[in-house]
Amino acid sequence: MSQQFEIKNDGKTSTLRLIGAVDVSTATALQTALLECVSGASLESVQIDCSGVTHLDVAAAQLILAALRLPDIDIRVKLPDEPGVRDWLASGGIDSLLVASDAGAIA
């Protein structure tokens, strides 16, 4: 597991925290981390915490978006509170992720 990802599991909610720059070079590791978070049989919800992200490229964003569309799994994404970073993320070309945020899946 790359140091850009942290996984916490309290038995009910699994949290994947993304840290720093998440780009195409970490896509495979991100996918593995996502699978680990969503595969728990007894999980009630999964949270993808992006508050620590400094850069998120399109490939990584599409991967998160694909995970959000998994049926029967409640996945929520937490975006950075800081508007500059949020705008910067938006400018990074993750429109679809923001669309998902508009749908309520992204906090």
Binding site: Q31, L35, S39, A41, L65, A67, L70
Partner: protein, 338 residues
């Protein structure tokens, strides 16, 4: 004719013996003597008959006693003996030992079943291991299915069909996991039941072994005690048999001795004949006495003779013969010995 015995009899009762040629008084004496001799003859005959009856009764009683004693011993010996030569104790010991062997065999069989149950428990552990592998495969299949769904989602519309396949794969993986979990629960229940059964059997085996050991000890002690009692009874029976034989011999001897009563009867009969002969010879000498003198002398002598009688039967016989009333005489002097 034994005159000395007649004289001795008269002397015993302090009477004056008959002296021929002494006149009317003497004739009355002769009359009284003749009458009394007749009565005594009758009494001797009666006594002889009584003795004979008593001897016959005693002999029959002795024979009955000997027969019953012999029969009792024979019955006891018959019930005690066994045609096969084995004593009842031996038979009981053999039966008990056979029963204990069967119980021990049953306990060993139960112990073997307990071991087999333990072996089955080992198999269940292997099954659980297999189920772990199945669940691991199911989890991996689920992971692959999730990955497939993510990839399908990434492809957008082009990945819809693949998403359906991934979803079905995920469903199959879930079913496999659920089935494995159900089997695991059943195996766990089965294992618990087997462990409980095995523990119960082992506990029962331990108790059975203890009980068998105690039973063997108790049965052995009881049989030894019974054997000792049996030997004692056997010895007692042998002793009883010997005593019974001795008793039979004693009774035979007693009966043989009692048979000499015939000699007594014969001798009494001879005495009676002698008395009759004496009476017949003396009776003509009493004819010259007057009836009154005869009656008076007979009453005197009878009264004297009766004074030694102790039994009512003696007195009654005398009373019937002497023709005078003794009912009011000396009722207090009556002594019945039997």
């Amino acid at each position: 004719m034994n005159w000395s015995k007649i004289t001795a009899y008269f002397a015993k009762f302090r009477l004056s013996p008959f002296k021929p040629g002494m006149g009317a008084d003497s004739a009355a004496d002769v009359f009284a003597g003749v009458e009394l001799m007749r009565q005594m003859r009758q009494q001797l005959t009666s006594i002889s008959a009584d003795i004979e009856g008593s001897v016959t009764g005693v002999t029959a009683g002795f024979h009955g006693m000997a027969h019953r004693a012999r029969s009792a011993v024979e019955r006891a010996a018959t019930s005690f003996d066994n045609p096969t030569g084995d004593t009842p104790i031996d038979l009981v010991r053999s039966a008990m030992e056979e029963m204990l062997v069967n119980v021990r065999t049953s306990a060993n069989f139960s112990f073997a079943i307990s071991k087999q149950i333990l072996a089955v428990e080992g198999k269940l552990t292997a099954i659980e291991q297999c189920l772990n592998n199945v669940e691991k495969v199911a989890d991996q299949a689920k992971l692959v299915a999730l990955n497939g769904q993510i990839e399908a989602n990434r492809l957008g519309d082009a990945g819809v069909a693949f998403g359906v396949v991934a979803q079905e794969t995920k469903t199959l993986a879930g079913n496999a996991g659920n089935t494995s979990e159900s089997i695991r629960e059943m195996v766990a229940d089965l294992g618990a039941a087997l462990r409980e059964t095995s523990a119960g059997l082992q506990n029962q085996n331990e108790q059975d072994s203890k009980i068998i050991a105690e039973s063997e000890q108790t049965v052995s002690e009881l049989l030894d005690s019974l054997a000792a009692s049996h030997n004692h009874m056997s010895e007692s029976l042998s002793e009883m048999s010997s005593i019974s034989a001795q008793l039979g011999q004693d009774i035979g001897q007693a009966v043989m001795s009692l048979q000499f009563q015939d000699r007594v009867s014969q001798r009494i009969a001879h005495v009676c004949e002698a008395l009759e002969f004496v009476s017949a010879n003396l009776e003509p000498a009493s004819e010259i006495a007057s009836p009154r003198a005869k009656q008076k002398r007979l009453e005197d002598w009878s009264q004297h003779v009766q004074s030694s009688y102790t039994m009512e039967s003696e007195r009654t016989g005398q009373t019937q013969d002497v023709m005078f009333d003794l009912e009011t005489e000396n009722a207090d002097n009556c002594v019945e010995l039997f």
